[in-house]
């Protein structure tokens, strides 16, 4: 590593950092505007045209606020917890390819590294709640630990199933196998793998393996802590959970980390299931952004519509529904690869998995609603939603 290499690497990391910050700022703006429009109100309007400088105003406000450290708090833990949360969120972006050549350092085990880093931020959250010397913080951090650890399992299993289907953990390869062969071949040629039998599919994985997208989105939502899985920092119940004693610049770190994780989950969903940066006319990185922001908008839309699940319902959903489903996903992916069945068989098996999920949801959640609608549906217009 010559001095020039180090300089280039530093410049690359710096630009990645800047681009990420701009992306997070845009995410904050989109969330507030979109939630406002969902609720029939304007979002921010006065800070800059269309409220575009609102995230900047938020950042300035957070930075100039007083950083209160409670007197009983464990200072070392209090100060290191935010770092443990945000540093892994940055490190994920080292391996995510934005287009064919725009990636800082493409790793052969890219997916593995990403999932491992996501797990690291759980520790930061738990320490944040513990170091706050606040009972709400303690409760919140325990809830966070339980929820995040239990939703790692389906996430990891889905990642494994995608690896099985594609034959590699390299993110560029996984995106490449979803593109037409003539574009994908150069990427596949220069990729390393001990198996060297990539499975070129040619279609985005959403058509072949929709079960994977479903599980990945839900597990990703739970990992990031977005509604309907945001009980551990639910404002109306435990007033912020692990973050309750953090204010000012400390809290802005958690805020940033949450949005970066959301962006990372959306970007991964785009890469793994929608074909990454492939698209007709526009340049490649534009397609990457379009697909990522599509998932971002879906995530925010879900936030504006649904109430949140209670912690025991959440855990039940994670262990009783998502985990068997993700095991099934691994098995059907393996069957498909091992016996070399055609792609539509995987689609059929995925759809059967989704039907099973729908059935489970129906039995547990929808049947009481149907019973209620039978008894009282004629008294309320809301029953028109229930068939």
């Amino acid at each position: 590593m010559t001095g020039l290499d180090i300089l280039v690497l530093t410049a690359t990391l710096f630009s990645v950092f800047t681009a990420l910050s701009v992306a997070v700022l845009s995410l904050i703006w989109i969330e507030r505007k979109l939630l406002g429009r969902l609720q029939r109100r304007l979002g921010p309007t006065r800070t800059g045209p269309f409220g575009l400088l609102q995230p900047v105003a938020d950042g300035i406000k957070l930075l100039v606020k007083e950083d209160l450290v409670p007197s009983w708090a464990d200072k070392i833990i209090f100060w290191t917890a935010p770092l443990l949360v945000i540093v892994p969120s940055f490190m994920i972006w080292v391996t995510i390819p934005i287009s064919r050549n725009l990636v800082v350092e493409n790793l052969d085990l890219g997916l593995f590294v990403i999932v491992a880093l996501l797990v690291l931020s759980i520790l930061g959250l738990v320490l944040a709640g513990w170091g706050s010397a606040n009972k709400y913080g303690a409760i919140g951090s325990l809830r966070a630990a339980a929820q995040l650890v239990s939703y790692e399992v389906p996430l990891v299993l889905v990642v494994i199933s995608v690896t099985v289907i594609s034959g590699s953990m390299d993110l560029r390869v996984i995106s490449a196998i979803q593109m037409p062969l003539d574009i994908a071949q150069p990427i596949l040629d220069e990729a390393h793998s001990s198996f060297s039998n990539f499975n070129h599919v040619g279609l985005p994985l959403i058509f072949i393996f929709p079960l994977g997208l479903f599980i990945f989105l839900l597990a990703g939502l739970a990992e990031v802590g977005r509604t309907p899985f945001d009980i551990y920092f639910a404002e109306s119940e435990i007033v912020g959970g692990p973050f309750v004693e953090y204010s000012g610049a400390h809290w802005s770190v958690f805020f940033l980390a949450e949005y970066m994780n959301t962006f990372a989950v959306a970007a991964l969903a785009g890469l793994l299931f929608l074909g990454g940066w492939y698209g007709p006319i526009l340049p490649e990185w534009t397609w990457f952004l379009i697909k990522t922001y599509l998932f971002v908008v879906i995530i925010f839309w879900i936030r504006g519509t649904f109430p949140r699940l209670r912690i025991d319902q959440l855990m039940a959903f994670g262990w009783k529904v998502l985990m068997p489903l993700s095991l099934m996903a691994v098995i059907i992916a393996a069957i498909y690869r091992f016996y070399n069945w055609p792609e539509w068989s995987l689609t059929l098996m995925s759809l059967s998995g989704l039907i099973m999920v729908g059935l489970a949801f129906y039995l547990r959640y929808t049947r009481p609603v149907l019973r209620l609608a039978e008894k009282y549906g004629h008294r309320s217009r809301g029953a028109r939603n229930v068939i």
Partner: protein, 376 residues
């Protein structure tokens, strides 16, 4: 027995439950209300409500105001149902002095009281959804509430603290554009209500959060002195408007919605059904209303004879009672309010014990208390 942290009640193994203070400053305790919870993991084992943070001495203050000035105090008791509070107090004084309110005034009182009931229930729906985590129905419900409050502003001059019902009738007649405004309001209210309803009432996650949570049996509810939508959700068909009819309620055709299970969803849904019933009462009253005078009293100063009277009415939160004692002077001797939220709140400990913390917030929200009424 007050719970404090330095006196832990430990069992023989030396373990004790954690004391969590959902203090007066909390985003979802619906006002300045303090709840001390003893929790064991996620399960609440004991609960102790502390009230009094909003005590303003309304009952004592009313001993120094003349009868027509006390109406301003009554507005601010249950600050979400102002017209209903003014109404029950005016009925109490009218009963003391024996004046009969003209018919047009009665009809207008019914219309405004029922619209206020709708507004109060809309706020409940919005904030209940917010407690559960749904942040969109609040905006829709408050949009509908804005329409009602604009109508109130055109009638009485103020969106909330009206001082419009006076002893013997009303302050002045309705404005000329009232019939136009209200004929435009009612279909829009139906639309807004439908939107909020479709978003929340039969949503699977909402039902799973609230069904089976905080179940109150019929006998326990009657024992605790519950009234209002909470009681009707347990299956008891008791409504003061039908049981001891007052004003012109006997001329309207409306039902009393009840459900059978007595849990949070039922308490929520009874209020949704009541909104639709109130809309139909308003429409019937508009049809039946005639022209005429609106106040039967020629003077404002009232000096009732020495007597006492108890009057009750159906507020959005339950049965409110006013016990008024007069000693012949122009100020009340004693004014005692029986607030519905206070009696409903007495069952909190029973409901919250052995439920999760998250459910504690939901149950408290479903009781629909207003601290202005609890503390007076």
């Amino acid at each position: 027995m007050v719970m404090y942290d330095d006196v832990p009640m430990s069992d023989s193994s030396g373990e004790f439950d954690m004391l969590l203070n959902m203090g007066p400053q909390h985003p979802s305790t619906h006002g300045v209300f303090r709840m001390l919870l003893k929790i064991d993991g996620e399960v609440v084992t004991d609960a102790e409500p502390h009230i009094g943070y909003l005590h303003r001495g309304s009952e004592k203050l009313s001993e120094f105001e003349q009868y027509h000035q006390v109406i301003t105090l009554m507005d601010r008791l249950d600050y979400l149902s102002n017209f209903n509070n003014e109404w029950v107090y005016c009925r109490a004084v009218e009963k003391l002095i024996g004046v009969i309110v003209p018919e047009r005034a009665e009809y207008i009182r019914v219309i405004l009281g029922e619209l206020n009931r709708i507004a109060s229930h809309l706020l409940f729906i919005g904030t209940f959804g917010l407690d559960i985590g749904a942040m969109t129905p609040v905006m829709f419900a408050f949009r509908a509430r804005e329409r009602i409050q604009s109508l109130f502003e055109s009638v009485s001059g103020a969106r909330m603290m009206h001082n419009y019902f006076h002893i013997g009738g009303l302050k002045e007649d309705l404005p000329e554009d009232f019939s136009v405004n209200i004929s435009r309001l009612i279909p829009r209210l139906r639309q807004d209500m439908e939107e909020t309803d479709r978003l929340l009432s039969f949503n699977e996650l909402f039902v799973s959060r609230t069904k089976g949570v905080g179940v109150m049996s019929k006998d326990m509810a009657i024992n605790y002195g519950w009234t209002g939508p909470g009681l009707r959700a347990c299956g008891v068909k008791y409504d003061v408007r039908k049981a001891e009819t007052y004003s012109v309620y006997d001329r309207f055709d409306f039902e009393i919605p009840t459900t059978l299970d007595g849990d949070c969803w039922d308490r929520y849904f009874v209020r949704v059904m009541e909104i639709y019933e109130s809309l139909s009462i308003v429409e019937q009253a508009l049809e039946q209303m005639q022209e005429g005078p609106v106040n039967a009293m020629g003077r404002r100063l009232v000096r009732p004879a020495k007597n006492d009277v108890y009057v009750k009415a159906e507020n959005p939160r339950g049965e409110i009672g006013i016990y008024l004692v007069s000693d012949g002077s122009d100020k009340p001797y004693r004014l005692k309010v029986r607030p519905p939220s206070f009696c409903n709140l007495s069952a909190l400990k029973e409901l919250i014990t052995d439920s999760y913390i998250a459910d504690a917030v939901v149950i408290l929200g479903s009781l629909d208390i207003v601290l202005g009424e609890v503390d007076r």
